[in-house]
């Protein structure tokens, strides 16, 4: 029971993974945006705070300079020297924004901002009441000592990453919560199948053995037909049974690989299914070359059985099934109802039936995929609605 539980929780289905991924991406994206916004606010706040600290200082400088400008103005006929101060740089502009005098390092000035940063300088703009020397605008410039930025960025990165991590963990927890009902359902199904399989074994062997043993010579025509139908039904059940046993019992077993002649095994399986196919007037068109694969016989049989039985199950009456075997690939295509393109990525998920009107557990293709993965054989699915499906195995 414990093993079973682990298997279910460990195998994430494609459909599950997709919804999980979608949820997580959206969630992380939104969290990132929120954190980014908060960071921007924080940064701007710090920036304002820092400028506010500077403003008091710069305003004092400005007042000092204005006093000295006043003196220069009144004694301009005697001395034309602009008042300098080694604590800051400055400039004066007249009302028409013409530069009267400037010792600024950064010449670009925004007259209508009171204080601003520009190229690692801080400019403070003071509008004069008396236009000493014709100056209406006085600009004070100091170096922008931006060590606070490092501090702020460090904080943003540190807290941002921590917050994102916490949010991501929370998101993971949330998504698990969402997926739990789905998982519980899958587990229930697994348990059910396991229990059922045990019970099916004996009666099914009895039916198959007895059909073989029946003496057709003494049977009337009507009964032979009926027996034929019983045989078909029994074989269908047998395929399902074999899938189930593989799923619940054999999957964990180690593979017993031997050289298998694929041509032989395909002929064998086609013959086995012939009776099923002919009941729907389906024709096998077979083109095989003798190819040897080093593989577990039981497993490759499950693959071929499932592909062929699907090709029969989802075929039209009087359709065909093409099987082509070459050195590097195997193609099984049918003239069936086809699979919607949007559903193709999920057909290998367990309990996913790609046609609701047909029965089955929807485990066949998941077994196929499982086995092919073990042997690193790729499978491509091409399908057109009402034209057919083509499965290509490459190794």
């Amino acid at each position: 029971m414990l093993v079973l539980k682990n298997r279910v929780t460990n195998s994430i289905l494609n459909s599950e993974r997709k919804s999980l991924l979608r949820f997580l991406t959206l969630y992380i994206l939104m969290s990132t945006v929120v954190i980014l916004l908060l960071s921007i606010f924080y940064y701007q706040y710090q920036d304002k705070l820092n400028l506010a600290n500077h403003r008091t200082q710069l305003s004092t400088y400005a007042h000092d300079l204005i006093r000295r400008l006043k003196r220069t103005h009144h004694f301009f006929d005697q001395s034309q020297i602009y008042p300098r101060d080694n604590r800051f740089k400055s400039a004066i502009y007249d009302m028409e924004y013409i530069n009267i005098f400037s010792i600024l390092d950064e010449k670009k000035v925004y007259f209508h901002k009171e204080i601003y940063r520009i190229n690692s300088k801080i400019h403070f703009v003071k509008v004069l009441d008396n236009y000493y020397l014709g100056a209406k605008y006085l600009i004070i410039e100091v170096d922008d000592i931006d060590d606070w930025i490092d501090e702020v960025i460090k904080n943003i990165i540190l807290y941002g990453v921590v917050a994102l991590l916490l949010l991501a963990l929370f998101g993971l927890y949330l998504s698990r919560l969402f997926l739990k009902p789905m998982r519980d359902y899958l587990m229930l199904l697994d348990t059910f199948i396991k229990d059922t399989t045990h019970e099916l074994n004996t009666p099914l062997s009895a039916i198959l053995a007895n059909i073989e043993m029946m003496d057709r010579e003494v049977m009337v025509e009507k009964n032979i037909k009926k027996l034929h139908r019983i045989n078909i039904a029994a074989k269908t059940v047998s395929t399902i049974y074999n899938d189930l046993t593989y799923l619940v019992l054999k999957r964990e077993n180690a593979s017993y690989n031997i050289d298998i002649n694929m041509q032989d095994i395909i002929y064998d399986r086609v013959e086995y299914f012939d009776i099923l196919a002919s009941s729907k007037k389906i024709e096998f068109r077979i083109d095989l070359e003798p190819i040897i694969l080093y593989i577990d016989k039981e497993k490759i049989t499950r693959v071929i059985d499932n592909l062929i039985s699907n090709a029969i199950k989802y075929n039209k009456r009087g359709g065909f099934i093409d099987i082509i075997l070459r050195d590097k690939y195997l193609v099984i295509s049918d003239s069936g109802i086809g699979i919607e393109e949007s559903k193709i990525p999920y057909i290998f998920d367990r309990y996913m039936r790609f046609n609701q009107s047909e029965g089955g557990f929807g485990i066949g293709l998941s077994i196929v995929k499982d086995i092919l993965n073990e042997y690193h054989i790729s499978i491509d699915v091409e399908s057109q609605i009402n034209i057919g499906t083509k499965m290509v195995l490459r190794w």
Partner: protein
Amino acid sequence: MVKKVVIFIIILSNLYSQDIYQKSCVECHKSLPASLQRMFMNYLLVYSGEENVKVGLFHYIRYPHKDTSVMSKLFIETIGVKRPIPRHKLSDKDLKEAIDIYWEKYKVFDKIR
């Protein structure tokens, strides 16, 4: 005779070599206690930019008034408001030119170091 003609020519050339500002402003201002430089600085103090100063001064010379004067109250009270220079003595064009010369002579840009 020749001497008289030479002197006359010298005076004439002297008159012509003086620009419109020298002729129409400086002469009369010489006797005033505040220099034209001082007055210019007072203009800057109130009008700041070049256009503004020129327009303000143009208007004041045509329509002087104690309320629009840039000089101190004490100065106006002792000297009195100047009399407007009428157009037939100094045309608008010539006044503009005189003011331009005045601006060029005293503007701060060139002098401040």
